[in-house]
């Protein structure tokens, strides 16, 4: 990439500074603008009657009483809504062979998971809509469900989509090198384990929600949306509800967390949009917590049977595994539910120089809620399998896990290169990250403490993970397969008459500080105090076209577009200043809100004086000068399918062998996300990610009965990590900027979630090792640990 060389060492740059977020005060003072805060004139509320069964034929639905209930405005069954909404199918062509059936926002003939919408009631209040839902009489014939992914492919399993003949949605095989030969070599030790990863979900603080409005006079549909990808939603609404794309406006104001939950097509949201169009008035739907647990996408749900071979000296000779994942009755639209399994196949063992690699992934349909992309898609599985086996193998041959990593990690000077699965890798720093980790955690002291404590009957464990993270995806992620999802992002920077900057971007803010880094980049690159930058995101009517914030792409892609736009505007402004000041442009710079002499820093003209001249008194300028005080740039990743980042993490835990409780004593994360734009935000992203990873490793699981009933739908029964149990999380950085952009930023949002579970698994098994037992199932609940210990 070519570009401005001096932007990172300018005196007034904000890039790299722990600049406080502009929106923090607003949110903390309760001035956030979330979807549920919206009260529009004539607004009505949607509630859903949902399938009580995992699999049932809909014989008849009587809505007479519901329609007559107080406050009810309209009632729609699946068949009624289908006249106004075209079905969608969650497949993409680059995931060859992936199949899924047409899906309707509200089920028509057959309900295929407990919680699937069967009827939508629209009433004056949500309470009235819920009252009316209780009056609906549905005659449902229960069908045998295929609940358990492990039996979904057996001959006698009920087939969820008869046309397909089986419940197989997708499969992929990778076979590189000669794994059987490698494993058969004389000095090779094989470890073999069966890993189980429970289902969990995102549990966003703000639940999913939308307020949709339709104006028949202009045929415009406006969706206020708690979501991450407004332009994607714009296409989806247009295509399936039948409104011209340019007439659909999607607005995402403040979003209270998303974690990938809010990039999918949910029947209840689409139905609410359709109802707004039919009723020509605003319709609000806010998922309550129970609906969130039942219908927000779930994640993980893998059974992985895996083997690793290791030589006596500690060289990994290969990994061989089978991954089975259950994704619910449909592949989620539009991103599909095959991506997580695909990532597992792409990423397992990716930090290590592997010559032999064989993997078989199978994605199956089942009668449970749908599974799809959630923070760190596939990563926790890939990392736990590879690094779990690595530490198991190290124990088997009596070597220290750090030593084994040192021997097998890809060397920092060996890039560019490819992983065994064929991923293009560049600018990674596994070795540096591991050495820094070992140093900041004081590894030797922890080992000494471990031995001392064991004598007192206290079992502590240390576990590691070396990881990669997929960030900054290129069009090869979705667009190539036919998805209407942008991989580029745009940024616009405009100088107003008061000398302030108005910037807008197609990436979105969900609480992680997107708007803050956009402001930092614009202020730093252009040269104004950050207080003078106003950031707009999340409105398809006003921001440039682009993908949004997901897959750790906001800073790396949206940030680079902002850098380029700010730089372009700076050039344009300096061209004007050069004419006004009769000075060569090269002798000028913009700093702290003024055009200055580049050499001495002496002020030549303030930006507001310049802008006022341009806007108000253009007569003072030569007629052939055509000032443009606005610039737009777009950016996409080229040459690489993804920009990989890497990290090394460690967990220190204490296992109470009498109760099976795990206490996380300390966690360390060394992360290389390239250029750090705001260290405070990156550190908190890593910490938040680690906490979410601890959730998956120790607490969180969506539990289903054998009949397919979700058993825990409250926050008392589905437990998430809470502050009082969380350890100190020490974060450190290696900065290896990516060469794919000037900014050099890679993603950082998912690393903690991707890596922490593996480190915890290894730490718990290290703690359990004196008892000669181990656990390979997440979450590692107290009872499962007691079972591993043979205590219950």
């Amino acid at each position: 990439m070519t570009g401005p060389a001096t932007i990172f060492d300018k005196p007034n740059t904000y890039i790299g500074q722990p600049t406080p977020r502009a929106d923090a005060a607003r949110l903390l003072q309760g001035r956030g603008r979330f979807v549920d805060d919206l009260q529009l004139p004539r607004m009505v509320h949607a509630a859903f009657f949902r399938s009580p069964h995992a699999h049932a034929r809909i014989l008849s639905i009587d809505t007479t009483a519901a329609r007559a209930a107080p406050g009810v405005v309209a009632v729609y069954t699946g068949a009624e809504l289908a006249e106004h909404v075209t079905p969608y199918v969650g497949v993409l062509t680059h995931l060859a062979g992936l199949r899924s059936a047409p899906q309707h926002p509200i089920a028509i003939d057959v309900a295929r998971w407990q919680g699937e919408p069967l009827v939508m009631v629209i009433a004056q209040t949500r309470a009235q809509a819920e009252d009316a839902c209780e009056l609906i009489e549905a005659d449902l014939e229960e069908l045998p469900p295929a609940v358990d992914a492990e039996t979904a492919l057996t001959a006698d399993a009920p087939v969820i989509h008869a046309d397909f003949g089986s419940n197989l949605a997708w499969e992929r095989k990778v076979d590189v090198g000669h794994i059987d030969n490698a494993f058969a070599a004389p000095d090779v030790t094989i470890v073999e384990r069966e890993f189980r990863f429970g289902r969990h979900t995102g549990v966003t603080l703000e639940s999913r929600g939308t307020v949709c409005d339709f104006d028949p006079s202009e045929q415009t549909l406006t969706m206020h949306y708690s979501g991450q990808a407004p332009h994607m939603m714009q296409v989806i609404l247009s295509r399936h509800i039948g409104v011209a794309e340019e007439n659909v406006r999607v607005i995402s104001n403040d979003v209270g967390g998303s974690f990938g939950i809010k990039i999918h097509t949910y029947g209840d949201e689409i139905a609410a949009a359709a109802a707004a169009k039919l009723l020509k008035r605003p319709v609000k739907f806010i998922a309550d917590r129970m609906e969130s647990f039942m219908t927000d996408i779930h994640a993980r749900d893998h059974v992985v049977k895996a083997r690793m071979g290791i030589s006596a000296e500690g060289s990994i000779v290969g990994i061989d595994f089978h991954d089975l994942t259950g994704v619910g009755p449909y592949s989620m639209y539009p991103r599909t539910s095959a991506i997580e399994c695909n990532q597992v196949l792409n990423l397992t063992g990716a930090p290590y120089a592997l010559e032999n690699y064989r993997a078989h992934g199978q994605v199956v349909f089942q009668n449970k809620n749908m599974m799809c992309q959630y923070r760190a898609v596939g990563h926790p599985i890939a990392m736990a399998v590879a690094d779990g086996l690595l530490e198991d193998a190290a124990r088997a041959i009596g070597k220290d896990p750090v030593e084994v990593r040192r021997r097998n990690l890809m060397r920092d000077d060996s890039y560019p290169r490819a992983s065994a699965s064929g991923m293009k890798l560049d600018d990674l720093s596994h070795q540096k990250a591991l050495e820094k980790l070992v140093e900041i955690m004081d590894y030797d002291a922890l080992r000494a403490d471990q031995i001392k404590m064991r004598e007192k009957g206290i079992y502590r464990g240390i576990g590691f993970v070396s990881m990669v993270e997929v960030t900054n995806p290129s069009p090869m992620f979705y667009g190539v397969g036919g998805a209407h999802i942008a991989s580029m992002d745009g940024a616009t920077v405009r100088l107003d008459a008061a000398g302030a900057l108005h910037v807008s971007s197609s990436i979105t803010e969900q609480g992680q500080g997107t708007n803050a880094i956009l402001g930092q980049i614009a202020a730093g690159v252009f040269g104004v105090p950050i207080e003078r930058v106003k950031v707009t995101t999340g409105d398809t009517a006003t921001v440039p076209y682009g993908g949004g914030t997901w897959a750790s792409r906001g800073a790396g892609i949206g940030g680079e577009a902002m850098l380029q736009a700010a730089h372009a505007l700076k050039t344009q402004v300096l061209d004007v200043a050069g004419v006004m000041l009769q000075s060569p442009v090269a002798a000028l710079d913009i700093r702290n809100g003024a055009v200055v002499d580049a050499e001495t820093g002496a002020e030549r003209i303030t930006l507001d004086a310049l802008a006022r001249t341009v806007y108000y008194r253009g007569n003072e300028l030569p007629s052939d000068l055509k000032p443009e005080l606005i610039a737009t740039r777009h950016y996409r990743v080229t040459d690489f399918p993804f920009v990989f980042t890497n990290g090394a993490m460690a967990a220190h835990v204490e296992v109470d062998t009498e109760t099976g409780f795990v206490k996380v004593l300390h966690f360390w994360a060394v992360e290389d996300c390239g250029r750090v734009i705001n260290p405070m935000l990156v550190d908190e992203q890593v910490r938040g990610g680690v906490v979410q990873g601890i959730g998956g490793a120790l607490y969180e699981e969506c539990l289903y009965s054998p009949e397919g009933q979700l058993l825990n739908t409250t926050m008392a029964d589905y437990i998430v990590p809470m502050a009082s149990e969380m350890p100190e999380i020490t974060v450190a950085h290696i900065e290896t900027p990516t060469k794919t952009s000037v900014l050099g930023a890679k993603g950082a949002g998912e690393a903690g979630t991707g890596g922490a579970p593996a480190a915890l698994l290894n730490a718990v098994n290290d703690a359990l090792s004196p008892m000669d037992t181990s656990i390979w199932q997440m979450p590692m609940t107290p009872e499962r640990i007691l079972k591993a210990l043979g205590k219950v």
Binding site: A127, D288, R289, T659, N712, V792
Partner: protein, 281 residues
């Protein structure tokens, strides 16, 4: 998750409240701190036609101490208990247990009467009342009744308090010489216990006058007389506990989503061991 419609009444006197409850037999439900009842109504698990807010009843408020006992009004919030000047000296067992009950926000509203009336099997308060030998004062259309805690908790969310009665107060005997123990097993601080125990002993060496109440183990908080007898007169050392533990088999342990009945049984023993160890330390 919106409650169905209901009528809301806020009587000014206890007599008026009782009259409302009997008038609406079974259709009315008292509202104390609302920390359990409001979620149940929003989940539509509870759907009272009439909600009787107890917050204006001065008869249900206040903590009063006599020479022999402490009387705590039913509407006393956990927070008010924790802030009571004598809590550590007069009711040390409650002082130790309070921080384990839910979280600040809930303790600011939840009441002792609400907890006892609800009688959640995993709640701390019922077990504390059993261990302390408290008496629960009820008021109904036929006047006042005093029910010992031992007879109050009758089953899964089931107590001696009738639908037209209210808990007015609890009376806890003062025991300045007694020793107390408390331990509960939770994965996260503030959760309902996976098993817990509250212990009162009149002396430690040897253990005597034991009242040992378990919670989070079965359908209600309960004591196990055989266990108390087995430990009475012993030093409470490991061998004594091991010898007493089989008495726990009298409990019908219940499993839930987090732990099986078998694990609960194991946890009850662990909680007992740890509580005694802390008492004897």
């Amino acid at each position: 998750m919106k409650a169905p419609d209901f009528d809301y009444l806020r009587p000014g006197t206890l007599a008026e409240a009782i009259a409302i409850l009997s008038e609406h037999e079974g259709e009315a439900q008292p509202l104390a701190g609302g920390q359990s009842l409001m979620p149940m109504m929003n989940f539509r698990v509870a759907a009272p036609a009439v909600l009787v807010d107890l917050s204006a009843l001065s008869e249900l408020r206040g903590i009063t101490r006599t020479d022999t006992s402490v009387r705590i009004g039913a509407m006393t919030r956990y927070r008010e208990l924790a802030d009571w000047a004598n809590i550590c000296t007069d009711l040390p067992l409650i002082a130790v247990a309070l921080p384990h009950i839910a979280h600040d926000a809930i303790r600011n509203r939840g009441t002792i009467g609400g907890s006892l009336a609800l009688a959640d099997a995993a709640a701390e308060m019922p077990a504390l009342m059993l261990a302390l030998g408290a008496t629960i004062e009820l008021m109904g259309p036929n006047g006042t009744r005093h029910v010992p805690a031992d007879d109050f908790f009758q089953g899964f969310y089931d107590t001696a308090c009738e639908a037209d009665e209210l808990i007015v107060a609890v009376d806890i005997p003062l025991a300045p010489e007694a020793k107390f123990g408390f331990h509960e097993l939770v994965q996260r601080h503030g959760d309902y216990a996976m098993a817990g125990v509250a212990i009162k002993a009149t002396s430690l060496a040897p253990l005597s006058g034991l009242r040992i109440a378990f919670f989070g183990v079965s359908d209600r908080a309960l004591r196990v007389p055989a266990l108390e007898a087995a430990l009475d007169g012993t030093s409470g050392d490991e061998a004594a506990i091991a010898a007493a533990l089989p008495a726990l088999e009298a409990i019908e342990f219940e499993g839930d989503l987090k732990v099986s009945a078998k694990t609960r049984a194991h946890y009850a023993g662990v909680a007992l061991k740890r509580a005694l160890a802390e008492m004897l330390a």
